[in-house]
Symmetry: C2
Subunit: 227 residues, 2 copies
């Protein structure tokens, strides 16, 4: 069974990858070089795909900066030092317009060419407090679209499924699950605003959620922080 | 009112652009450089956007060849000399996996950044005999997705609409409508396999549909053909 895995090189997508492998899927990984400020993600994604023995790993280059509109791709400062309540109060400035719609569309093209019918994406409850395109109803709508958009769907040969194994989990639960599967989180990267050598800042929203997750899971985060 | 127009530089998208303008929309045009074999399309799209006084025109570069799988992007010969029945009998080899899903996803990102709530795409009845992602049910599913995927949709500020003004029309009807609107079809390009200087081949599926459309509309196609 072939599966397409959206792999950012972060904690969530790496755990998702491990879960797909555990379910017996062959791994076709897709990573985006989308003008993100944290390019170290791409190196991590390459190492992780290799480590898990992925059959194929494609890095797709798209320029989401072209339209502007997000602190992750434009030259806007990412917010630092906020608590989870503050993060959840609004759609974050790190939101990239239509990002998951674009990412899943490419997953769909990749799946169609490879004749895979299973796509894995590591969206979760922590994300969908803020990002509209991480919510379960969005994923369901994309799955519906995918089955109307493709040859295989039209010809009734197979039904495409979007797997979101983390969607109900908190960051701590994700980390615990990863530990059970033997995931080495030292390979992963989460920081929105890494310092020299890819060292994580420790204060952006993503670092804070990660650190809080490890704390709540009762395990030590193996990566280095500058603060 | 701002609108995002998917502009390929072909006959259908140019007619769609003219219709959006007639309805009073400001024009934000989006064109894809996706590794198509017929790059002359891009020059035509630039000229057309300028001619119609578009507020903005973005050319997005994405590499759909990376996954392979279509005669339009891979090094597979495009079929020639087929009649419309033969074309309609199967999903064509010129089908690019998930192409309209990807294109509409970028339209959505562009619309969100520009705060446009109207997207125009020139899909039509001729196309959807063969391409799954040109059918009305696909468009409807994308519109549903779009309203779940975006900030504006989530915050209930506005509802995004996908306009398909050509969806019920034959090629001849599209051409007649364009003529009424004063569209100069000499600016447009349709050929999948153009010869030197961008001259159309006259025998690929796209040229044949175009020529048949002009014939049925009872008007002369102003572009040059090599055959």
């Amino acid at each position: 069974m072939k599966s397409v895995i959206l792999l950012s090189g972060g904690l969530d997508s790496t755990t998702t990858l491990a879960l797909a492998q555990k379910q017996g899927f062959d791994l076709y990984c897709l990573t985006f070089d989308y003008g993100q400020r944290h390019k170290v993600e791409l190196d991590r994604a390459r190492d992780i795909a290799k480590h898990f023995g992925a059959v194929d790993h494609q890095v797709v280059k798209i320029d989401l900066r072209q339209f502007g509109g997000s602190a992750l791709t434009a030259s806007i400062d990412v917010p630092i030092g906020r608590n989870q309540q503050e993060m959840a109060a609004e759609i974050p400035i790190t939101y990239v317009p239509a990002r998951n719609t674009i990412f899943l569309s490419f997953c769909l093209a990749y799946a169609e060419v490879k004749e895979a019918t299973d796509i894995f994406i590591g969206v979760n409850a922590v994300d969908y407090s803020g990002y509209p395109d991480c919510r379960p109803e969005f994923i369901k709508a994309f799955e519906n679209l995918a089955n109307l958009a493709t040859k295989a769907g039209v010809e009734g040969k197979s039904r495409l499924k979007i797997h979101t194994p983390l969607i109900e989990l908190s960051k701590a639960e994700i980390i615990k699950k990863g530990f059970e599967l033997g995931v080495d989180y030292a390979m992963t990267h989460s920081c929105y605003d890494p310092k020299e050598g890819g060292v994580s800042c420790g204060v952006c929203d993503s670092c804070q959620l990660r650190l809080k997750g490890f704390q709540e899971a009762g395990v030590k985060d193996p990566i280095k922080y500058s603060l």
